[in-house]
Amino acid sequence: MAETQPPAPAFYVLDPHEHHHEPGSGTLLGFWIYLMSDALIFATLFATYGVLSTSYAGGPSPREIFELPLVALNTAILLVSSITYGFAMIAMQEGRLGGTRLWLAVTGLLGMAFVGVELYEFGNLIAEGATPQRSAFLSAFFTLVSTHGLHVSFGILWIGVMLVQLGQRGLHAENQRRLLCLSMFWHFLDVVWIGVFTFVYLLGVLR
């Protein structure tokens, strides 16, 4: 960032209203735009699932294979992880390093529980013969849900990296910016999960 310093003052002097555009603040908007493009990936996967959701090919239907109590548990885990990440952000705003790390670790553990329950569910489905190869419905289901699961897994990895970073460097400006990006990522995944549990699981069982 030190290299970008020389041209910067010229901009600030010429246009005082543009003073928001300090180095780093653009990162948050850029990351947000990445998330919006990620939303489009999920939109195409949701559309694919919507089109193929009744193509059972003589295989199992959603009502036969979905276990709603398990899905409710996973939904609860992800929802609680959202508020624990929120607590991490509040601790960060108050400059409490210990609190930030504690709540981040709790969020990471909840994320792992979520992925664990999802893998358990997938294991059950595959053991019952409801594999991705069985029907177009199951292919679309596994693609959509595991893409979300992969995102959560990478979020957990990112939380792990941030815990190390915070342990070594503390709450400096760069780490704060990274935590803000991770916050958007994590909450965004919870928003996608709202779509998954509503349109895949609940509407699937209703059908």
């Binding site: 939109a43 919507g50 709603l68 959202s82 909450h187 709202i194 509503t198």
Partner: protein
């Protein structure tokens, strides 16, 4: 510490109260659809479907405001603009695909049964 940040006002940040309100609303908006589907209180599936879709939309908005802190001030309104644009594209992709493929399916149905055995 964050006060040292130059553009503090535009950084998305929430209060403990905001997060708790968002969390409580989300718990209700999640529990009600699961309860409706798992107990089958309302017999009519179409009514239940309409209710849970409406609740999902409300919950997405609650998460957007309370957790993602999207508002007209953050990043000078650009996050809100990007969000609205993405929402429009997402709706076009999903609704458009379902609409087109539904009609394609209904028009192709007799064909598949006819050329199936050969």
């Amino acid at each position: 510490m964050s006060e040292t940040a130059h553009g503090h006002a535009e950084v998305p940040h929430g209060s403990r109260r905001g997060y708790l309100i968002g969390f409580l609303l989300s718990v209700v908006l999640t529990a009600v659809p699961f309860w409706l589907v798992m107990t089958g209180v309302i017999g009519d599936a179409a009514t239940v479907a309409a209710i849970i879709i409406a609740l999902a939309v409300v919950q997405i908005l609650v998460h957007t405001v309370c957790f993602l802190h999207v508002n007209s001030q953050s990043e000078g309104g650009w996050t809100l603009l990007a969000y609205a644009f993405a929402a429009v594209i997402v709706l076009i992709v999903i609704a458009g695909s379902l609409w087109i493929m539904y009609h394609l399916n209904t028009n192709m149905m007799p064909m598949t049964s006819m050329d199936g055995p050969s």
